[in-house]
């Protein structure tokens, strides 16, 4: 019987003691070094032991003669990294998608960027890189010079399904409903969706490679620009990972200031999505209302950090700016104003019949599917899958601040939007608590610019869900490898699953309830 209080490490020890090497405390709860093919056995053991076992990410590494693979697996109370290696000449490894369907896109990404072949993968092909990418060039391998990459001429061919009954509808790359250029080929039979083929990668810039040629300090500002919406959380997660390698403790005041910045970010991101959802279901007034109320939050971000969008507040060792005493009343007044407006929005979601018709029972994701597909954030919490990194593995000051974890069980678009609505209120509470209990003292400690050799993983709760960072340093001022797994990347499978069997008209409302952010997804 799956048990959430199980000690994962002792389970693996008892079952696979002679075959694998367990390194407690490394890369999460423990790192488990495996040899040929055993990674599947370890993952199967984890799946049997804990019902909430899900995959966070797969990291590829260039280790010279070998290529490394790190499978990052989360369970209800642990975070485990499984190491595997494959020879560079014939980089082949067995897929895990049959036992863990959530790993499909993670494997595609590693295959694209490192050229590792996953034997038995259900849909091999380009995913992050374009279809006309030159063959045999794997950009994240160390021997590839980014300036030398030249694309082949492209062929843009859409073939219609052969039976004549079904029709393919192409959404994107330039589409009014998508702010970002991505392509979704939706196959419909009458009005019912029968198949969705995602094609991401239009915003793929190669940021992971770019971090390797910049210093740690420059990288803080580069990773911040992975996403223009949840920028603070990217910078925060990166500096936390570097601080783990450096083994420096951030002053208490800095932790609280970071929490304030992160929650302001969450507020503006959730308000944006709640409004955007209104736009997608044809309720434009709601969109205008939410965005009107989002503007004061943008002003607060500007007030506390100096910038409207990119706060650039995080730095290794703390934050770059303190909060001014005279600004605190203004911050509190703005938050109180926003809190007063929330009952109106709640009422709209509860009572407005047209909104309920477009959102209730649309895109229902069951709890077991949510776990199987390893979804994160409000999408998971809307389906009763209670994961929130702020609660599960408190970082910064979240361990000391009281707040509720919002969970809805319906699993539809309406539940996902309501998770965000309730989180807006929780975020207001968190900021108010943090301001009232702001500890005195310094807000920054000096950190060395050269980071000693080492590696670390870090998870934080971005507005869209669990955000994962892996940083490896080789003892210089520049990182050897930075891996980012963004929440939307983990949530796309949920859309592919829930869209099938529903009406084509429900696609936008279902899709926007994931709060998709493709600049994050593609990096």
């Amino acid at each position: 019987m799956p048990n959430s209080n199980v000690n994962i490490i002792s389970v693996i020890e008892s079952k696979l003691k002679d075959k694998v090497q367990i390194q407690p405390g490394q890369l999460g709860t423990a790192a488990i070094a495996t040899t040929n093919g055993l990674h599947r056995e370890v993952i199967q053991t984890l799946l049997d032991a804990d019902e909430k076992t899900a995959i966070t990410s797969i990291t590829g590494l260039d280790l010279g003669a070998n290529l490394g693979l790190l499978y990052h697996i989360r369970t209800s109370n642990a975070f485990v990294t499984i190491r595997a290696e494959v020879p560079r000449e014939s980089p082949k490894i067995q897929t895990i998608t049959d036992i863990m369907p959530g790993a499909v896109f993670h494997e595609l990404e590693v295959a694209d960027l490192f050229g590792i072949v996953f034997e038995g993968h259900p849909s091999p092909g380009h995913f992050v890189l374009s279809d006309n990418w030159p063959e045999g060039v794997y950009p994240l391998r160390k021997d590839v010079n980014p300036y030398d990459v030249k694309l082949n001429p492209s062929k843009d061919v859409i073939t219609q399904p052969s039976d004549g009954k079904q029709v393919k509808i192409v959404l994107g790359p330039q589409h009014p409903a998508l702010l970002e250029p991505e392509k979704f080929v939706v196959t419909v039979d009458g009005e019912t969706v029968t198949r969705v083929d995602p094609r991401v990668g239009y915003v793929h810039r190669g940021i992971e490679k770019a971090t390797e040629s910049r210093t740690f300090l420059q990288d803080v500002y580069l990773v911040e620009r992975i996403c223009g919406i949840c920028n603070s959380i990217h910078a925060c997660s990166f500096v936390e990972t570097v601080e783990k390698i450096l083994k420096i403790e951030v002053p208490q005041r800095a932790k609280y200031l970071r929490v304030i910045a992160l929650e302001l970010n969450r507020l503006h991101s959730h308000l944006l999505t709640l409004g955007h959802a209104g736009l997608e279901i044809g309720y434009e007034t709601l969109f205008q209302y939410f965005w009107r109320d989002r503007e004061p939050i943008m002003d607060l971000i500007e007030l506390t950090s100096g910038n409207r969008v990119y706060s650039s507040l995080m730095t290794v060792g703390g934050v770059r700016r303190d909060i001014k005493e005279e600004d605190i009343p203004k911050i509190k007044a703005t938050l109180t104003d926003l809190r007063k407006k929330l009952p109106f929005y709640r009422q709209v979601y509860e009572d407005e019949p047209s909104l309920k018709m477009r959102m209730k029972n649309v895109g229902v994701l069951k709890r077991e599917d949510a776990i199987k597909l390893s979804v994160v954030g409000p999408v998971a919490r809307g389906s009763g899958y209670d994961i929130d990194v702020r609660k599960d593995e408190p970082y910064e000051a979240y361990g000391e601040i009281p707040f509720k974890e919002i969970v809805y069980t319906q699993g539809d678009t309406w539940a996902r939007m309501n998770v965000r609505m309730d989180e807006v209120e929780e975020s207001i509470n968190i900021i108010e608590y943090a301001i009232d209990n702001l500890p005195p003292g310094p807000f920054r400690v000096k950190a060395p610019r050269v980071v000693p050799a080492g590696e670390a993983v870090n998870r934080v709760e971005a507005p869209r869900g669990e955000l994962f960072y892996y940083v490896k340093s080789n003892g210089t001022a520049m990182p050897e490898r930075v891996k980012v797994r963004t929440p939307t990347y983990a949530n796309i499978p949920a859309f592919l699953k829930t869209a099938i069997g529903e009406s084509i008209a429900d696609v936008p409302s279902n899709f926007v309830s994931l709060d998709p952010c493709f600049s994050c997804t593609d990096r």
């Binding site: 843009d156 790359p173 915003v203 810039r205 770019a210 620009r225 969109f287 503007e295 943008m298 969008v309």
Partner: protein, 188 residues
């Protein structure tokens, strides 16, 4: 007739937004422009989903290699005369992403750009200022009202480099000096 067309265009420019590889920072600021606080619709600016009906193309983000062709195609679909505004540091030059393996560069590497609005991201006021200046440039004040010697036409920085620009008949000479001003104001 020309006067009427210019009048109509200046009073009601329809803009198309294309994200060619942006981080969402500039895109969200463009959407914010349409919302109550900034409300560009009062200048007659309307966000138009189809390139075939648009007068102005707002491009955000460094152009990724995968988007390059699509951007060209969107530009080609727009009717003449058309104007391109590069919004944000990445669209102007590639920004922090210049030199990444999947980035082709700024927008002017692919299509001719009429106005540049730098910033990371530019504030909504800066975007508004840039677009309004572009519109004013289409309908310049009578020559006698202009102070002498101040406005000097010089070729756009990247016009010669861009292949596509050779085929264009965009009336740029009036626009150029104003673009320079837009840059200065937007930096503040």
């Amino acid at each position: 007739m020309t006067n009427t067309v210019t009048w109509a265009r200046v009073k009601s420019p329809w803009v198309l937004h294309f994200n060619s590889g942006a981080c969402n920072g500039c895109d969200i600021e463009i959407v914010a422009l349409l919302t109550p606080k900034y409300d560009v619709e009062r200048f007659g600016v309307k966000l138009e989903p189809s390139p075939r009906h648009a007068d102005v193309l707002l491009v955000t983000g460094a152009v990724t290699k995968q988007c390059e062709e699509r951007l060209k195609r969107v530009y080609d679909q727009m009717p003449q005369p058309k104007f391109v505004v590069a919004i944000g540091a990445c669209a102007c030059s590639g920004g922090v992403f210049a030199g990444c393996y999947n980035v082709a560069g700024g927008v002017d590497k692919v299509i001719p750009v009429t106005a540049y609005i730098p910033g990371c991201p530019p504030r909504p006021e800066a975007i508004m200022d840039g677009v309004v200046k572009l519109l004013n440039a289409l309908n310049p004040p009578k020559p006698k009202k202009q102070p002498k010697g101040e406005k000097k036409a010089e070729p756009l920085k990247n016009e010669a480099e861009s292949e596509a620009s050779k085929a264009e008949t965009v009336p740029v000479p009036e626009v150029k000096p104003v673009v320079e001003e837009a840059k200065v104001v937007a930096k503040q």
